[in-house]
């Protein structure tokens, strides 16, 4: 059951073009990979919390990987060690884990939920991470992914790894399952035969399925709540 926690900032530092935030919530809780937390932005000019998928969990410590895109994440990036963040979660359904070899595809900040997912998969893990350029990642961050799986990089400008978009390099090759997170266009262009789960992003208001603000239209024309029915969906639900 989700709860509101006080999360003391242990570290909040840049990692390439991203920020890595770690907070201590005082107790160890169960979190399914792919679930998210809503962090309150303590500014008077914002009304919505910001949603972040879990990047890592160790005992009572939760980590989030984020990019500064607006005033909410800008405010968050300025929080110093010791600040007490108001954190609500875990929310959403989470990935369903299968045994065997998995491919984990992340576009930009879509890499965030894949680390904790990779850590929890019982089997071989191949990461395929894409970004605009090499400076997006820090070497330290990439080494964490390398520690738990094979890592292949793709950059749009070719400054690191292969050149282009991650979706060009997804191979069907002997995977039991593919997991992906990234922009909607990226997810919709995934073309594979094996079962795939994708993590969707939306502006989230309540976070627990009540307000109907975050809906996404599925291929059948049905509206589903990203925060409650998702954020993890079967790829076939969002793309033909």
């Amino acid at each position: 059951m989700p709860e509101i926690y006080s999360g003391e900032v242990l570290e909040n530092r840049s990692a390439g073009e991203l920020f890595l935030l770690t907070v201590s919530i005082g107790k160890s809780i169960d979190i399914i990979p792919g679930q998210f937390f809503l962090i309150r932005i303590d500014r008077e000019d914002t009304v919505l919390r910001r949603a972040f998928s879990i990047f890592d969990k160790n005992d009572d410590r939760l980590s989030f990987l984020y990019r500064v895109v607006g005033k909410g994440t800008g405010w968050l990036s300025e929080r110093k060690t010791g600040y007490e963040l108001n954190i609500f979660g875990p929310l959403g359904n989470g990935f369903s884990l299968v045994e065997g070899r998995s491919l984990l595809v992340g576009g930009g900040t879509g890499m965030a939920p894949l680390y904790y997912l990779g850590k929890n998969i019982n089997g071989d893990v191949d990461f395929l991470l894409g970004a605009q350029r090499k400076t997006f990642w820090s070497e330290e961050l990439l080494s964490r992914y390398r520690d738990i799986g094979n890592l292949e990089l793709v950059t749009e400008d070719g400054s690191s790894g292969k050149k282009g978009l991650v979706t060009q390099y997804i191979k069907n090759a002997c995977y039991t399952k593919v997991y992906a997170c990234g922009p909607m266009e990226m997810l919709k262009s995934i073309d594979i035969d094996v079962p795939a789960e994708v993590s969707l992003e939306s502006v989230i208001a309540c976070g627990f399925g009540a307000c109907r603000g975050c809906i996404v239209e599925t291929v059948s024309g049905e509206y589903k709540r990203v925060c409650k029915d998702g954020p993890i969906f079967d790829l076939r639900e969002i793309s033909i």
């Binding site: 309150r40 914002t46 009304v47 919505l48 502006v203 809906i215 239209e217």
Partner: protein, 265 residues
């Protein structure tokens, strides 16, 4: 502290406004009623409504624009929540809306039979539903209120939109049988999406509109608009309203009612 809303005893002047918390099922699985005096579930219509296409919400400076479009599974699904509403230790007021007088009449008839419902809030002002805005003229406000009053005999509040010169609308609705008013629904606005603006940005506008009304006429009012803090609640109570609704603030703090209630004491 005890508060009285037209004969209904409230343990707190804080009301969970219709909308943000849906029908309450998900919210009350996680949170309690602490701090709340009344719960108003999201507006119920006779038939299910799929609502508007995404995107439905946009955050603005100090506010939130929403265009949900009254998405709900219809009154017959809502009736299945009877056990939940009975189990709450606070009264529940139903919010209803309809596209025709017949629908409103039927909804009133259904609500009349529910002894676990303390009253009805007739939503005549959703800004996000094409062709269903009753509050564009006083005649339809009168007719809609009268239609519900024909079948529903207990406490009837009418939720109106924020607008200048609203007295004729209030008078029309009173003569149609309204006992009180929820003032106001969200403020029509546009920023990437067209919808209703809520949040702290609208509060000064609503305080001004409400002040003029409260100084002029003596009617039971539940204030609604931009409440984020205890001070906001006091500002509205100072105007003489019976209760104060909280909506958007639940997104920032799902346990906001508990906190504000403690601060009020």
């Amino acid at each position: 502290m005890s508060w009285n809303l037209c004969g209904i005893e409230l343990g707190s002047p804080l009301v969970a406004a219709s909308g943000p918390l849906g029908w309450g099922k998900e919210f009350f699985e996680i949170f309690s009623t602490d701090g709340l005096g009344l719960f108003i579930p999201k507006t119920v219509t006779l038939k299910p409504k799929v609502g508007n296409p995404p995107p439905r919400i946009v955050e603005t400076t100090g506010g939130l624009i929403n265009s949900i479009g009254l998405e709900n599974d219809g009154v017959y699904e809502w009736l299945k929540l009877e056990d939940l509403y009975r189990s709450l230790d606070i009264p529940v007021m139903a919010s209803i809306a309809g596209g025709s007088l017949e629908e409103l009449s039927t909804l009133g008839e259904i609500m009349e039979k529910l002894d676990y419902i303390a009253g009805v809030e007739l939503n005549l002002s959703c800004p996000n539903v094409e062709g269903e805005n009753w509050s564009n003229n006083t005649t339809s406000v009168l007719e809609a209120t009268r239609e519900v009053r024909k079948t529903y005999s207990r406490l009837l509040f009418v939720k109106l939109p924020p607008k200048d010169n609203i007295f004729p609308y209030i008078e029309a609705s009173r003569s149609g049988g309204a006992d009180g008013f929820t003032l106001f629904n969200t403020l029509p606005a546009c920023d990437r999406i067209k919808g209703g603006l809520s949040g702290p940005a609208i509060k000064p506008v609503y305080i001004r509109l409400l002040k003029e009304i409260m100084e002029e006429i003596d009617i039971p009012v539940m204030a609604s608009g931009g409440v984020m803090t205890e001070k906001d609640v006091r500002d509205y109570l100072y105007l003489g309203v019976k209760a104060v609704q909280i909506g958007t603030a639940f997104f920032k703090d799902p346990d906001i009612a508990k906190r504000i209630y403690q601060e009020l004491q």
